[in-house]
């Protein structure tokens, strides 16, 4: 009470209290000093920026990146102290990089704004001042009464007040939240359920007290206090009263609810925790390389500084008569000078860290990822779905996958249960065009399934159509008679075609649908009676008891009273759970049939019945009731009662339901295996079903030795079994092993015996985990991710239960299936079918990996080439930090002269034709383990860069001699004959050679020359020449010095300069060609081999 007062007086900030108080329809108490607490509005904000804060916030975000920050520091250093290059040289590229990134991020944020606006602007109906007002979703406030109509989604978390039904219930699906497609019934408090109209709601005086927002979807604690006739009524509220934002109203015409959590505080929004940034292996090695280069940079700068001071020790070098210092330079403190010298060298060499690397990589990833969406092979015609890229950061990771963790239902299978066959009384039937055709008969056998439907067959069909927990939704809203009418009345007037079944188990749904097709249609239930229509004739059964399904019994039963008054039990379940208790019926034949079904990969269920005599029923009824009301050991007692009841069964038959495997699953799994990828199937399914699907989709081979780690109950037992398994693996190492683990055993194994378990797993070529909880899936993935080898993992799934695993794995792939968008939304890539995985990994992954690795290596290479001559030049200019190249060249080297060829290369390169990649999965092994970014290749590129730089510099040095040899062509152009070269000409010569060599080096690496490659490669060189001629051809009025005036023309007018350029370029590239040819012939990789085969 005290707290409440304090809170009202504003002493306690509202978020500190454990509950929030919501006045329905915002009718606050009239006692004057009540301050309405502030709640967030119902706006969903996924965008990061607004127009106003975009520039500062984006800049801040960008400079948080270490590389950008580094360049900013360099830029600031250049502004502050006297450095060899002008601030423009690093400022302009930095500006370029920042701008490109900002444009990209701005565009993405604009898309998010658009999506947000669409959601926030959606029309909703709110009860305000006594009438129904249409407003926008974002305007909903906590306490508003919201009206939601059928098939609409809830715009905020609402406490249900009333529905159009008298009992105040409604049905919803939460498919988009947790992936469950079945209908769920939610309730309203009885006192409010009567407020079915706006006017009555107006009169409602109620206060909801509930906990502060939290992310758990299934937890809600609160109470509602209503004032009726000056009397307070308090009712508890639980999750069954709460309608979550994002869920969808089904089967109910309209509801009214009061908003309790809005906007970013709704449970759905709270569940979108920031996705942890996934970083690819390539990016990690890239950062390592950057650090190495930073080391090189520091080393060069320190070495230069030390050498500078060693030279400067003597006055004749430091300050000869021709080169005196200014007073200011003489008087500055030696320590400051030392530091500023060091910084100046840093600035001079800073280009060794490739500034445009990040932006090029980002552009490559962003643009490159379009190819996935554009790929026709990844387009699914039937559902009109193309592949979707949610993050382009991981493109190359697709080429590095070592473990694939896949969900089963909906991922490997269609998640479309289809009744196929059944066995009744020892006879097998197939369903053909809505008729049951006995085995051996053809489809066109004499018409009229009716006459056949006698006795056992009919009983079997009735059993199937009655023994379930399916619910019905009617498409036509007006067929629902509101109020207290007979719930079945609609069915008589309407064709049952409008019915839609909802079931938590797709098998049940498939079975009920099948019996409907055949002629025994389940048309409704109201908790007490069930109605079926047998060939048009309606029958009502009284539902006496439901013996619910549980995982131990693995069967469920219903006890019914048939229209004639007889009481009977129908039971349905796994064959191992029912056959032992059957006493009559064609047990042996049915068992054979069940095995046949299972071999075909059908999910089998066995159906049996038992007729009770009135005395027996009395007994059963009594036992059940006493068990259900028992206060102690209710579980055990119920189990006991169930097993007492479910015996002496009469076997009716068995059903075979097919969960159709998706197309080409077997081929895909086989291809992945050939590519060296280990495939794990993680499923929530039963062990038998999982194994049979595993077998049918080629995950397990018939030749495989299948090891089992099932139903371990204790640590010791589990460890013992693991040891036994590992021994078995060692003993017969010829055979391939497959491992089946169930969830319970897995958690035991992971708790204490991780190492042992990992060891067993690594030796198995296929692993199947069944009965897995969603979090366990993620746990398995994490276990592998963090194992010493650090393999790259990929998780693929379609349901909400796969989300944790998708987020955990290095690469998460969502299947656009039937179970909502949760998986797709949380994935990095989404595809429509499992079979697309093969192309995604083998072709796209391969391409992206090759492209990005070459891109990264090449970037380091070209910057080493760029800056090392500058370093070498310091040895010839007294470490005075004189630049070798002109500032403009320094600036444009990375952003103009050498940027486009590598970008085009990294977008279009194909080492091998896509078909070859797909047909020869083994090629995937060539790039596994990040092999193209291994330390060896890194060393190769770096050393190559240094070698080339030495050749550029010393080649020019030697060939130029003492300034005199590379002179104007005296014989042809008498006017400028023998003119000397200066330092700028020398630098330009080195630079020209470098631009040509670096561009041609990439040309050597390119295997796939489209017109664009030609255009940018030759275009870059041509652009360099044209630009240089232009740049050197004019006295630039705004430039401080005219160092480059006519230098380039002068250089090119010298015949021997051309000879020098040609010979240096060839000298650089020639060993590389030789190396490539030798390697190709002596140690060809399989990729190279398949190039030849094309």
């Amino acid at each position: 009470m005290l707290r409440r007062i304090r809170q009202q007086l504003g002493f306690d900030p509202p978020h500190q209290s454990e509950t929030r108080t919501v006045y329905v329809a915002n009718r606050f108490p009239q006692n004057g000093h009540y301050i309405p607490p502030r709640f967030t509005d119902n706006r969903i904000i996924s965008s990061k920026y607004t127009i106003w804060n975009f520039v500062p916030k984006n800049l801040f975000e960008q400079f948080r990146r270490i590389a950008n920050f580094y360049f900013l520091i360099i830029f600031l250093v250049q502004l502050m102290i006297d450095t060899p290059t002008s601030p423009v040289t690093s400022g302009l590229p930095l500006f370029f990089v920042i701008t490109v990134t900002a444009i990209k991020q701005g565009y993405e944020d604009w898309l998010r704004h658009k999506a947000d606006n669409e959601v926030n602007g959606a029309p909703v109906f709110v009860v305000r001042s006594g009438s129904l007002v249409q407003t926008r979703s974002k305007n909903i406030r906590v306490g508003d009464i919201v009206r939601v109509a059928k098939d609409e989604t809830f715009p905020a978390d609402l406490v249900l007040l009333s529905s159009d039904r008298a009992d105040g219930t409604c049905h919803i699906t939460t498919a988009s939240l947790d992936g469950e497609t079945n209908l769920k019934t939610h309730f309203s408090v009885a006192e409010t359920a009567v407020c079915q109209s706006v006017s009555r709601l107006e009169a409602l005086q109620a206060v909801v007290e509930c906990q502060q927002p939290e992310a758990d979807l299934y937890r809600f604690v609160g109470r509602m206090t209503m004032t009726q006739h000056d009397e307070e009524i308090v009712r508890p509220l639980g999750p069954e009263n709460l309608l979550l934002r994002g869920a969808r109203l089904k089967n109910t015409k309209e509801i009214f609810g009061v908003a309790v959590y809005t906007g970013m505080e709704s449970k759905m929004a709270l569940n979108y925790k920031c996705k942890s940034q996934k970083r690819s292996a390539v990016e990690k090695s890239m950062n390592t390389f950057l650090i190495i280069y930073l080391g090189i940079l520091l080393f060069e700068a320190i070495l230069s500084t030390i050498l500078k001071y060693a030279w400067q020790a003597e006055d004749k070098w430091d300050e000869p008569f021709y080169n005196q210092k200014t007073e200011q330079e003489r008087n500055s403190s030696p320590i400051l000078k030392f530091i500023s010298d060091f910084l100046a060298f840093m600035v001079l060499y800073n280009f060794i860290i490739p500034i445009s690397l990040y932006v090029t990589v980002e552009m490559q990833k962003f643009l490159g990822s379009f190819f996935i969406g554009w790929d026709l092979d990844l387009y699914h015609e039937e559902s009109d779905q193309k592949a979707q890229v949610n993050t382009s950061d991981l493109n190359e990771e697709l080429g590095q996958v070592e473990y694939v963790f896949t969900d089963k239902t909906g991922t490997l299978t269609e998640n479309e249960m289809q009744f196929r066959e059944c066995s009744v009384n020892g006879t097998k039937y197939r369903e053909v065009n809505g008729k049951l055709v006995p085995e051996g008969m053809t489809e066109d056998s004499p018409d009229g399934s009716l006459p056949h439907m006698i006795g056992d067959e009919l009983l079997f069909l009735k059993a199937v159509s009655l023994c379930h927990t399916v619910q019905i939704s009617y498409d036509q809203p007006d067929c629902l008679v509101s109020g207290d009418g007979d719930p079945f009345s609609h069915a008589n007037g309407f064709s049952s075609n409008h019915m839609e079944y909802f079931a938590s188990s797709p098998d049940e749904k498939a079975l009920v649908e099948a019996t409907k097709r055949i002629g025994v249609a389940f048309t409704g239930s109201n908790g007490e009676t069930m109605e079926i229509k047998t060939f048009g004739k309606s029958e009502k059964y009284k539902l006496l008891h439901v013996l619910e399904f549980d995982a131990n019994r693995r069967r469920m039963s219903v006890i019914l009273q048939d229209p004639s008054g007889g009481k009977m039990l129908f039971t349905k379940g796994a064959e191992s759970a029912i056959l032992p208790f059957t006493t009559t019926g064609e047990i042996e034949k049915t068992r054979l049939h069940v095995d046949e079904f299972a071999l075909k990969g059908l999910r089998t269920l066995v159906v049996a019945c038992r007729h009770f005599s009135p005395e027996e029923y009395m007994d059963v009824d009594r036992r059940l009731n006493s068990a259900r009301t028992a206060l102690q050991q209710r579980e055990e007692k119920l189990q006991e009662a169930f097993s007492y009841i479910e015996r002496n069964l009469h076997l009716l038959g068995a059903t075979g339901v097919e969960d159709k495997l998706q197309d080409k699953v077997q081929e895909t799994i086989e291809a992945l295996r050939l590519a060296g990828i280990k495939v794990w199937v993680l499923t929530g399914d039963k062990h038998e079903t999982a194994v049979s699907v595993s077998l049918s989709c080629g995950h397990f081979h018939r030749t495989m030795n299948i090891l089992e780690l099932l139903q371990q109950r204790s640590d010791n037992e589990c460890a013992e079994q693991l040891r036994r398994l590992s021994r078995r693996i060692k003993e017969d190492h010829v055979i391939q092993h497959g491992l089946v683990v169930d969830g319970a055993s897995l958690s035991l194994a992971l708790r204490e015996h991780e190492k042992l378990f990992m060891e067993v797993c690594k030796n198995c070529s296929a692993v199947l985990c069944c009965r897995m909880a969603p979090l366990q899936k993620a746990k398995v993935v994490r276990l592998f991710k963090t194992s010493p080898e650090k393999p790259i993992t990929l998780a693929i799934g379609d349901g909400a239960n796969d989300v944790s695993m998708i987020q955990e794995a290095h690469v998460g792939i969502g299947i656009m299936g039937k179970e909502g968008r949760q998986a797709v939304r949380n994935s990095d890539y989404a595809i429509a079918r499992f079979k697309f995985l093969a192309k995604l990994l083998l072709v796209h992954g391969h391409f992206y990996y090759i492209r990005i690795t070459t891109l990264v290596q090449y970037f380091f290479y070209k910057n080493v080439c760029f800056i090392t001559p500058q370093f070498l030049y310091q040895f010839f200019c007294l470490f005075s930090q004189q630049t070798l190249y002109d500032s403009v060249y320094l600036t444009l080297y990375n952003i103009c002269f050498t940027s486009l060829p590598i970008l085009v290369y990294s977008l279009f390169e194909q080492l091998v034709h896509p078909h070859v990649l797909q047909n020869k999965p083994g090629l995937y092994r060539d790039i596994s383990k990040n092999s193209l970014l291994s330390f060896r290749t890194f060393l190769y590129w770096t050393l190559l860069g240094f070698c080339h730089a030495f050749v550029f510099f010393f080649g020019s040095y030697i060939l130029m001699g003492e300034d005199t040899t590379l002179m104007g062509n005296g014989q042809i152009l008498r006017a400028n004959r023998q003119l000397m070269f200066g330092n700028w000409t020398f630098g330009t010569l080195v630079f020209t050679v470098m631009v040509i060599t670096v561009t041609l080096k990439l040309a050597l690496e390119t295997h796939f020359w489209t017109w664009m490659n030609h255009f940018v490669t030759w275009g870059s060189i041509a652009f360099y020449f044209i630009f240089s001629l232009f740049y050197g051809g004019i006295i630039w009025p705004f430039l401080h010095t005219q160092d480059m005036y006519f230098v380039f023309v002068q250089l090119l007018s010298s015949g021997s300069a051309w000879f020098a350029i040609i010979i240096i370029v060839i000298t650089c590239l020639f060993p590389d060609v030789v190396k490539k040819v030798f390697y190709r012939h002596l140690q060809p990789t399989s990729t190279q081999k398949s190039q030849v085969l094309e």
């Binding site: 060899p84 988009s176 021709y322 010839f876 003492e962 005199t964 040899t965 070269f981 000879f1059």
Partner: protein, 366 residues
């Protein structure tokens, strides 16, 4: 970086399949174009012994003759070099180099005799060479004012800050300012031929030694067509100079900032040891060699001190060829690369024979 963690649009769990009445919805089917399907026509070269072999042989066959040509050309160039620094006691310039002082009004001269063993046909180029002179020191390189040299009158009066400490002298702006101009090479070199004991001066041309563009565009005297003395009124000569800039030459087209000796000096050398063109000895007629075999003397007015930084001064006489001055390295490089190419071509030919066929039939092991 790209994807947001939360995409509001997907919120309602709808799979937007073009439903009934969604006929207006365009199919999401990607276009089947060569670009989007990554099927652009492309040339796919493979570097195998077979494909690079011809290239190697061609490079070998072209480079070796070029190399030989370059080498021979370079060897035909005649070059004579003489060091007149005066480090040795025996050197004629020893005294001048020892007694150097900036303030001395009387120039010190020395005469170095030498003997040319070959006669020089064609034009002969006369260079001075300096060693250990760091024209490429950063402080030095930037110590100039290009707009002043371009004839800008404002810069003449207000030299750039970069010229410090050679921007002002006695509160008067220095023209031309900066360390480069201040340290201009100011030895005077003269050449005399001594046939049979007589002394014949060799005519030296002082023009045509700078870049055309430098002389005509980049360097300009301030105040077009005015009297140079008047234009440079109010400026100071560089500290180390003996004469102001407008007295560098009597020829008005070679005086002031457009003096070619000055322009040549202003083009800073890339390396601490360098040559700069000093004079040209033009061939007079086709019958007589430009420089005949025989005794010569070099007369030096010794003004430029180099001993303080262990520098050397040289005079070089050289003919040139179409490829420039003497430099055997270019020829050697071409011959070497050509030979290596040729040799590797042969090695590759062997490899190609041995492995080429096997490679083609090799299949990929999975």
């Amino acid at each position: 970086m790209m994807a947001s963690s939360y995409n509001a649009k997907d919120e309602d769990g709808h799979i937007s399949v073009s439903g009934p009445g969604g006929g207006a919805l365009r199919s999401k089917k990607p276009e089947n174009t060569a670009f989007k399907q990554q099927r652009l026509p492309a040339w796919q070269p493979i570097l195998t012994a077979g494909t690079v072999l011809p290239a190697f042989f061609i490079i070998g066959l072209i480079f070796i003759p070029i190399g030989i040509g370059l080498y021979v050309t370079s060897n035909n160039i005649k070059e004579f070099e003489i060091d007149y620094t005066g480090v040795d006691m025996s050197s004629p310039c020893f005294n001048c180099s020892q007694n150097f002082s900036w303030n001395s009004t009387r120039p010190c001269t020395c005469t170095i005799p030498f003997y040319l063993e070959q006669s020089y046909e064609n034009n002969v180029f006369m260079y001075y060479g300096l060693s250990n002179f760091y024209q490429n020191h950063r402080r030095y390189v930037k110590s100039r004012d290009d707009s002043q040299l371009n004839g800008d009158v404002n810069s003449l009066q207000l030299p750039s800050k970069e010229c410090e400490p050679y921007a002002y002298h006695d509160n008067k702006p220095i023209a031309p300012c900066g360390a480069i101009a201040n340290s201009m090479f100011n030895d005077t070199l003269e050449l005399f031929y001594h046939p049979n004991g007589t002394k014949v001066p060799v005519p030296l041309t002082a023009t045509g030694i700078a870049w055309w563009a430098d002389k005509h565009v980049k360097f300009r005297n301030p105040g077009e067509n005015q009297n140079l003395t008047a234009v440079f009124q109010g400026t100071s000569k560089p500290v180390n100079w003996r004469r102001p800039v407008y007295e560098l030459d009597s020829d008005p087209l070679n005086n002031g900032f457009i003096n070619e000796d000055f322009i040549v000096w202003m083009r800073t050398a890339a390396l601490p040891t360098f040559r700069k063109l000093y004079r040209i000895i033009n061939k007079k007629d086709n019958m007589v060699p430009t420089l005949q075999r025989g005794n010569y003397t070099l007369e030096v007015v010794y003004n430029f001190p180099v001993r303080s930084f262990e520098g050397r001064k040289r005079m070089i006489l050289s003919t040139i060829s179409w490829m420039g001055g003497k430099n055997p390295f270019l020829g050697i490089a071409y011959i070497t690369v050509g030979s290596v190419c040729f040799f590797l071509g042969i090695v590759l030919l062997l490899i190609h024979h041995k492995y080429g066929n096997r490679n083609n039939s090799a299949d990929i092991s999975n």
